[in-house]
Amino acid sequence: MSMTTTQPPAPDAGSPENDLRSGALPHRFPLVLLVACGMVVAGVLAAFSSFGIVLWALLTAVSYVVIVVTASARIEGGRKAKDRLVTSLVYSAFLLAMAPLVSLLYTVVGYGLARFDGYFLTVSMNGVLPSMDAGGVYHAIVGTLAITGMATLISVPIGVLTAVYLVEYAQGRLKKVITFFVDVMTGIPSIVAGLFVVALWMMLFGPGNTNGAAGAISLAVLMIPVVVRSSEEMLRLVPRDLREASYALGVPKWRTITKVVLPTSAAGLTTGIMLAIARVIGETAPLVLTAGSSAVSINWNLFDGQMMSLPVFIYSQFRMGGAVNYERAWAAALTLVLTVMLLFVLARVIGRLFAPKTR
């Protein structure tokens, strides 16, 4: 087409148009360049004695992108240069997202370890003045366990049964309505869930009544839609033939569901529930409103008096603003993050290990 001659092009001559070879940067060029950029930037920064990890990463990335794109545009042409630019940007996007994660975990562990010990985990703040070098999170751990436990007890039956309804029974309009409103519920801001319970409690018990149960209900409002969504997904994974095999044996539908469908998806359901717990265990705002933010002593009674929890503990210590308070906040943050990570990892492990081999 663009060739003017029908002669086969000589192997080594030929214009770039009918020769498929184009100038190409060596295969290892990007990697070598990146390392070189990193070292040069580090050297320059050190020379000006202003080495900072953020600045270094930023300058390295910028100089790398500029050089690689310019070189590519020169040697490989505009299209290749653009491709390399996008590749660099895509890699940077990922690294950029990792930066806050690494920084966050690094600081939580770094600052948190100062106070994170057996003493901190096993004593409450009862009788401890905010600025005293004492006290711990035991009461908050108790509160978190009690409140999250009750929230789980409320939302798991409702959530799983609703999922069963949506997958096994529902048809037509009601199914659409419920599916839609579960979606709506997923989007309720956590503070609104807290306000809801505040409003409810005001009507039931009058103003100023804060206790653990109120907190648990507000968390349940946030947790139910998450449980419904994940359980629905898991129930849909149960192959249809399994259900039909059971019906063919003359097993009634409800026994088929309880004896075949639910056990088959048990691992998946558990994973979903644990992820839902991990999601609400760190909720702060609704608990500040419903369970109070000033409890200092151990309280196992969900129905009487304020109840501290780990996230609220972090928040209230932060608000007090002294050096010791910050230390407590970081140590509690470490406790909370470890708990969440543990739930997260455990959920994945359970999902992996106990997944039924359906395929």
Binding site: M1, M3, P9, A10, P11, D19, R21, S22, R79, K80
Partner: protein, 259 residues
């Protein structure tokens, strides 16, 4: 424009698995070469190595030599992107871009290399390519409607127009008619007859009658047992392959004794 392809000693691997073993053949310019054989014999896999499309599949790699006229497309400095604009491909399932109009579909590939194409150039190229694909008369009044609104056969011809708009020298077709009804199939076969005046055409097909109808030369692929690599058994003039095959395996397949 049409170019010759010379393959020598080509092996294709998926990871450690040898999928196609030691293929050597010559594909003549301005002719239609058909690849036939039972499913899983590696003919599609082999076809994809001719424009390095196999590299899209993770783990797939080819060893050996593929010469396009005198240039090794696996040469160290050869760019797979440029290989593919020189050796176009049409797929089993018609795949026009669903978000683009017919016009934009045809011009999509050409735009990559020539951003500043003038309106009249672009219009000319679209008409030329659609006429070349025997589709112009059917779509000229709806060029700016989405390509997904066309029938299956029309979509496949649109994909052929899209491939030729890049001005390749070779067209690879991977079972282009297997999803089409007989009438659409006939339209594509007519088109292949016409296209071979300008292009080197390679077509993979399951349909032996189709191979007999459209191709000048035929290559028969087979594997000795399931799990074993596919091999080129025999290649020759289509006429000769279908009437006087040299290998027993080919004869068995042609006469329908297996496969």
């Amino acid at each position: 424009m049409a170019k010759r392809i010379d393959v020598s000693g080509l092996h294709v691997y998926y990871g450690d698995f040898l999928a196609v073993e030691d293929v050597s053949m010559t594909i003549e310019p301005r002719s239609v070469t058909a690849f036939i054989g039972s499913s899983g014999c590696g003919k599609s896999t082999f076809l994809r190595t001719l424009n390095r499309m196999h590299e899209v599949t993770p783990g797939a790699r080819a060893e050996g030599k593929v010469l396009l006229d005198d240039l090794d497309i696996y040469g160290r400095e050869v760019d797979p992107v440029m290989v593919r604009s020189e050796i176009g491909m049409v797929f089993q399932k018609a795949n026009p871009f669903p978000t683009m109009s017919i016009y934009d579909n045809v011009i999509a590939g050409a735009r990559l290399n020539n951003k500043r194409m003038s309106k009249s150039e672009a219009d000319g190229l679209v008409e030329e390519s659609l006429r070349g694909a025997n589709l112009w008369e059917e779509v000229k009044d709806r060029l700016h409607k989405p390509g997904s609104g066309l029938s299956g056969g029309q979509q496949q011809r649109l994909c052929i127009a899209r491939a030729t708009a890049v001005k390749p020298s070779v067209l690879l077709m991977d079972e282009p008619c297997s999803a089409l009804d007989p009438i659409s199939t006939l339209a594509i076969e007519d088109l292949i007859h016409k296209l071979k005046e300008d292009y080197t055409i390679v077509i993979v097909t399951h349909n032996m009658q189709q191979a007999a109808r459209v191709s000048d030369r035929t290559a028969f692929f087979n594997l000795s047992a399931p799990g074993k690599p596919g091999k080129l058994i025999e290649m020759g003039e289509t006429n000769q392959i279908f009437t006087r095959p040299e290998k027993k395996e080919t004869e068995n397949y042609i006469t329908g004794r297996f496969g």
